[in-house]
């Protein structure tokens, strides 16, 4: 990506407003809440625009901010209809027997990788699980996969070693997939 990507806040609403809104609406199923999330995201982007480094496109950057807002929204909700239990986020070791074989074997998820976002059940489970994960693990995962940071940047923010960063990302992925598997209906 170009290092000289220029932000044009005055065009954000016209250019990305509908896309951001549709994304938010699919996650929260509430028009006014979705509008609020878009507004919060664009205001947060205005405030953070000096920190935009041009590593991603303007659109990807705005979407990343909105995704943070969606996760924060779910995290702040007290009521959970899904019954996702804390055990879903067990230590990685607990997923394996002593001989290194899976204790509970990962299943085949039906979601189509080319249309993943059209599969609402899967994405709902994904965001819900992400927002219920222990905060530090979720942060490591979000920095990596949503913000597109490299291991070195994540390591600095979380103040951990490179090795620990790899371990945290592994634990985050193990936890997240375990939680999704428990809550996402697989055939």
């Amino acid at each position: 990506m170009s290092q000289t990507t220029e932000l044009k806040p005055e065009a954000w609403v016209a250019q990305y407003g509908d896309m951001l809104f549709r994304f938010a609406l699919r996650r929260v199923n509430d028009t006014s809440l979705a509008e609020d999330l878009v507004q919060e995201s664009l205001l947060a982007a205005m405030k953070a625009k000096d920190r935009f480094q041009g590593q991603s496109s303007e659109k990807t950057w705005l979407f990343a901010i909105l995704k943070h807002k969606v996760i924060d929204h779910f995290r702040s909700k007290n009521h959970w209809a899904t019954g996702i239990e804390v055990e879903a986020f067990a230590e990685a070791d607990e997923h394996f027997n002593d001989d290194g074989t899976w204790r509970i074997q990962p299943k085949h998820w039906d979601a189509n990788p080319h249309q993943v976002f059209e599969q609402k059940e899967f994405i709902d489970a994904f965001y819900l699980c992400l927002s219920k994960m222990p905060q530090r693990l979720a942060d490591a995962f979000v920095y990596k996969e949503i913000d597109g940071m490299d291991t070195e940047e994540i390591r600095k923010i979380l103040n951990i070693t490179t090795t620990n960063c790899g371990v945290m990302l592994y634990r985050a992925r193990m936890s997240l997939r375990n939680c999704i598997e428990k809550s996402y209906a697989t055939p």
Binding site: M19, W102, P106, H108, V116, E145, G166
Partner: protein
Amino acid sequence: MKHWMFNCQRVSEKISASLDGSLPLHHRLMIRFHGMICPPCANFQRQLGLMRKACRYENISGENEPGLSEQARERICNAMKNIS
């Protein structure tokens, strides 16, 4: 102790590491070989790929779905002007 290529726990760690940067080619080949003989690990690898797709997706194919209302559009523009 058997080689990591035959241990699902070690393979799962390598699969995760492969998403974080450069894993040597021979490690990636060993992961692929393991996946051919171990459906659960192949499923695990596919699951991590789906999670990555879920994170990165942003193009909503929904031209027919409603967009931001005029009122919301105006409200957001005004709020943005206030802090610029």
